[in-house]
């Protein structure tokens, strides 16, 4: 017996979606959503949630995975990479008009604010090492750095109990970074005035830059002008745009 379309079957699509059409529509909508999602940072709906999870990951990185005493592996000078790309956000290499007048200001929640010249900094304890630089983009390169440990500055400016963060400011447009105190006090966190046995080149942050092999490159403020101790968590140039705040490796 041949089956004839019943009235019900015939009418169904007019009144509503049958199961198959509904499924097909669902799958199409799902695929469409996925397609729209590609090349998509989460939009208004998901981006805040993704940033919240990023803060959870910061917490894991800072409180669980970071060790204040574990030292990054060091290399020999012979293992230096052939090149280490430099970057700054200004349109041209940031340069001081009067290098002699430059001072590093140490301020904020400290018992003893400081203004340090390059010579002052060079008279302080000196740390030098050859380490691997890790960029958030995925590249890496080995180079040598020398300078004064941030802990030596902390010893001299004596931060107040309330000081939990340091905000590093630069003269490279509005580039800046916020750091947690434990990372700043790590023995390999230095204010570097030298690279590969020479004075710090202008392309790499002269006269002074932050350096540490425990952080990604974007946390290492170049062209320093000040470090400010605060009780509230500072942001940062890239951090405010969505990059992980802790940036520890």
């Amino acid at each position: 017996m041949t089956e004839r379309p019943t009235l019900r079957r015939y009418d169904a699509p007019l009144h509503g979606l049958d199961r198959r059409t509904f499924l097909r529509l669902g799958v199409t909508a799902g695929v469409g959503t996925l397609a729209a999602a590609c090349g998509w940072d989460g939009g208004h709906l998901l981006r805040p949630g993704l940033l919240d999870i990023s803060r959870v990951n910061d917490w894991v990185g800072e409180k669980i995975l970071f060790s204040p005493t574990r030292l990054a592996r060091t290399y020999s000078a012979a293992e230096r990479s052939a090149m280490l790309p430099s970057y700054f956000i200004s349109t041209t290499v940031p340069m001081l008009e009067d290098a002699g007048a430059w001072r590093l200001r140490v301020e904020g929640l400290v018992a003893q604010p400081l203004e340090l010249s390059l010579d002052d900094l060079m008279r302080l304890p000196r740390v030098s090492y050859t380490v691997k630089h890790h960029c958030v983009e995925g590249w890496s390169a080995i180079a040598s750095w020398h300078g004064v440990p941030v802990s030596a500055i902390v010893e001299r400016c004596r931060p107040l109990k309330a000081a939990r963060y340091i905000s590093f400011a630069s003269f490279d447009a509005d580039y800046w970074n916020g750091w947690d105190m434990a990372s700043a006090m790590h023995p390999q966190t230095i204010l570097a005035y030298g690279m590969n046995d020479n004075r710090l080149p202008a392309a790499h942050g002269a006269p002074l830059r932050l350096y540490s092999p425990t952080k990604l490159g974007y946390k290492l403020t170049k062209y320093l002008v000040s470090m400010t101790f605060t009780d509230t968590r500072p942001g940062g140039y890239w951090e405010d745009q969505g990059y992980p705040w802790f940036g520890g490796i």
Partner: protein
């Protein structure tokens, strides 16, 4: 004469079905955000070289295959999705252990002979399909392998994520750039596995698709060992 179809049998526990499909979605997001991250430095090796040999050196993957819009967006997707992926993976492994179902899945030395027989069958060197339990030895090899691959994806990921704090792990994998390299290759093994898996489902045992959706199976193979 009428033949009554074989009855439906219960084949997959809801934990297996949930973690299977959740992994499909989350892993797709991990791969898509990973390809966006890869765009930022599309090679392997320290700056200035030497570089690892890779057919994808300098490759930019098509826009539709990437998730995150830019590096920061992709990183946030990748590190957020890593949580559910790990959670589903652990839930699945926990289920395998507690239920004892690992026995039907784990490829063991005694499966080698059976795997060779299966290979012969697929290569048309023997005519009849070798008898099997819930999974044949080649399936066991593939499923055991893909679980190990999931573990390696996680380990290489951590080695790239924290090369200083987890320096021992990064060193074990040959260093930061080598860990990136392996992390990237694991993607293509996953993709290859998935393509093969889907082809075999439709070519060999389409009833298994319903089983993975509803839990109930009415197909040509036994559902238990």
């Amino acid at each position: 004469m009428t033949t009554t179809p074989a009855p439906f049998v219960r084949r997959h526990h809801w934990i297996v079905r949930l973690t299977h499909w959740a992994t499909v979605i989350v892993l797709a997001g991990m791969i898509a955000s990973g390809l966006q991250i890869y765009e930022a430095y599309a090679r392997f090796g320290n700056r200035g070289g030497p570089y690892f040999v890779s057919p994808f050196d300098g490759t930019q993957f098509p826009h539709w295959s990437r998730l995150g819009g830019w590096l920061a967006g992709a990183l946030n997707w990748h590190f957020a999705l890593a949580w559910p992926l790990t959670a589903f993976g652990l839930l699945y492994l926990g289920y395998l252990v507690r239920s004892g179902e690992w026995r039907t899945l784990l490829f063991r030395p005694r499966d080698v002979r059976g795997a060779l027989e299966m290979a012969k069958y697929y290569l048309h060197l023997r005519r009849e399909h070798p008898p099997q339990g819930k999974h044949n030895p080649l399936q066991k090899l593939a499923y055991t392998g893909v679980i190990v691959l999931g573990g390696l994806a996680m380990l290489t990921g951590f080695a790239v994520y924290k090369p200083t704090q987890l320096a021992w792990l990064t060193a074990l994998l040959g260093g930061f750039q080598a860990a990136r390299y392996w992390h990237f290759w694991i993607v293509w093994i996953f993709v290859g596995f998935t393509i093969t898996h889907v082809i075999l489902v439709f070519a060999v045992d389409p009833a298994s698709l319903r089983a993975m959706l509803t839990g109930w199976y009415r197909g040509r193979f036994p559902s238990h060992d």
